[in-house]
Symmetry: C2
Amino acid sequence: MNPKPPGRPRSDAARRAILDAAVALCVDGGYANVTIKAIADAAGVGRQTVYRWWPTRGAVLLEAMGEVGAAHGAPPPSGDPVADLRVFLEATFRLAHKAPVADILLGLTSDAFADEQLAARLRGYIAERRALLAEVLERQGADGWRVPVPTVVDLVFGAMWYRLMNQHGPVGPELTEQVLVVVAALRQA
Amino acid sequence: MNPKPPGRPRSDAARRAILDAAVALCVDGGYANVTIKAIADAAGVGRQTVYRWWPTRGAVLLEAMGEVGAAHGAPPPSGDPVADLRVFLEATFRLAHKAPVADILLGLTSDAFADEQLAARLRGYIAERRALLAEVLERQGADGWRVPVPTVVDLVFGAMWYRLMNQHGPVGPELTEQVLVVVAALRQA
DNA sequence: CTGTAACGAGACACCCTGTCTTGTAAAGTC
DNA sequence: GACTTTACAAGACAGGGTGTCTCGTTACAG
């Protein structure tokens, strides 16, 4: 039902090298340092090979982020919803601190303002992350929130991103505990 | 005590034309459309005139945003702190919706990742906006918050930015009312 | 009138973009 | 083994932005 198309098959080695090179370039040099030409050169790949499979650098980085995100899901229910939330927040905040993640996602967001296709795919990625947090929150109950759960998600992830964006405050254990206090206060008394 | 330096004085007309052109370019074409060359051409100005006073496009746009921000302060205390907060949030959300503001600030943030000087100045701008909200919040009392006021500021502005960034939800009256509920819940019972 | 510095205009080398071309490599088909 | 088809690495190419530099001009002070 999925007959192989004729011709030389896509090189998975080239795909890996491109994704890895894109992330590596972002690590040392920042998002602005990531260009299609630089990716191709660093990956030891022809530029056309990149353009054949991805329309923009954003598409490359988004696919790389997808792999990272897929490896960071919600924790299995432990029976204590608040503990689950703490675990998820700690993992998320740690992930956000890994060198290029915040830089990449912010750059993608910026690029997305001028690229509707990229914007749509980025929204999909963000929606997955939001759904993950919503699920963990609703382990405390689907009802009985003072504001809708999606708004709670926006408050929590928003505070995280806002700090990462402007680097005016830490995204760490203190924030985790404060978020837990806020979430508790948003449960009906 | 401030003797005029010799030579031709700086042209205020050129300054204005450059700032206005930068914003106009962002309105139609997005942040990516704003380049030093485009600014200079649109402003009818030599490119060197831009480089003489601003090191990067980011510096130009940040100065333009400073003017916008300066025109949007906190409302005078009405006696009802909650009403004050509502007024401030409504004005802020309306401002964030004005065509280029979100685009510019997001683009600046992205540029700032690769430009420490710009980052520092942007942090200053953000700090002003954060201080404004903190002041309005503390009209309800400087003490008695379940989490520190700066964290409340991050939650509120964070949610706003997070929605503006990813455009997954509206930044409008509903959010205003939900934020008011959250703020009320964060006052000690 | 002279000195000084900003101004508009544009030349210059450099880099990235996105497309195109060339020759080669890897798969299925006959 | 020849043929077809597609991916591959390498690089040429025009177009556009960068940041610097050089013109000749303009505005203000002494």
